[in-house]
């Protein structure tokens, strides 16, 4: 009897492991930034290119960085979600305009509305590399100390905002400066 139970047990363990493997999303790559200081950037603004914003300038508040581009199809779908979130007036959202042409980016915002506090221009994509961006759109949430607390790869949805972002922001806003 025992000699039949051992292969069966091995088989069951294998099935459990493979089932767990199937449920893993291979597109999800754990971000190495969670819990670490937000990466540095020093970028010109889309609408006032002579003016720059640095990561350090944004410290002391809870803020979001939304990586977008006019060529990015799913950003278009996400845009309504971003607008809805900004209308709640909980935390400022800065845009990182990733590998875009400034005139295309401005046209896109004119057509769809501009919810961003400011959009930073990353024409070559260097800031994108520093932030580990690999699938636009991406969204980062920073706490008051400038630590990255959450990263969303792919478009935000109303469900993600309501279930993940809003509770997190409530928690972060309650933290001391």
């Amino acid at each position: 009897m025992k000699r039949y139970l051992i292969p069966l047990a091995v088989f069951i363990v294998l099935v459990i492991l493979l089932a767990a493997g199937l449920n893993n999303d291979p597109k999800y790559i754990p971000s190495p930034f969670i819990g670490k200081p937000a990466p540095e950037f020093d970028l010109p603004l889309l609408h006032q290119p002579q003016q720059h914003i640095k990561t350090a300038d944004l410290q002391g508040q809870v803020w979001l960085l939304n990586v977008w581009a006019s060529w990015c199809v799913s950003c278009r779908a996400e845009h309504e979600v971003v607008k809805r979130f900004v209308a709640m007036n909980i935390a400022p959202v800065y845009g990182l305009n990733y590998k875009d042409k400034p005139e295309d980016a401005k046209g896109w915002l004119n057509a769809l509305g501009n919810p961003y506090k400011s959009s930073l221009m990353d024409i070559k994509g260097d800031a994108g590399i520093d932030w580990g961006v690999y699938g636009v759109p991406e969204t980062f949430v920073m706490d008051k100390k400038g630590i990255v607390r959450y990263k969303q790869v792919g478009p935000l949805t109303n469900a993600i905002v309501d279930e993940k972002i809003l509770p997190l922001l409530q928690e972060l806003n309650a933290e001391a400066d």
Partner: protein, 153 residues
Amino acid sequence: MWMKKIFLPLLMLMTFASLPLLAAIDAYQFDDPEKEALYKKLVKELRCTVCQNQDIGDSNAGLAQDLRRKTYEMISAGKDEDYILDYMSQRYGDFVLYRPRLQKNTLLLWIGPFIILIAAVFFLLKFIRRSEDEVPLSESDRAQAEQLLERDK
């Protein structure tokens, strides 16, 4: 003869048609063959996070191009292999390294196969020993077996 007539143009067609599929080629100039070798090695070792299961040397994705440029810039600036691999994994996680490093969360990955090998050898030895322990035939069994063999002749 007609085969040759068709075969050669067909072969040429296939060769040229597949050209755009060949690996992305950037014209990066290196002043030092050692740096060029390092570049070629690194673009094979870094995984493209957009087009997973391709290395950045093989991919035409925008991000892969940017990461190749970044790799080129760092190599030109004289950075070594460890520096560049650290730079990439700090930004994109261990996922970008095709050869995972030996660390706490990759320990099982590295030693797992050896554990399985040891277990397999253990069970194999047990199995061999058990078959050696078989009870030899008794006299009466042997006689009976011989009788059966005799009958079949």
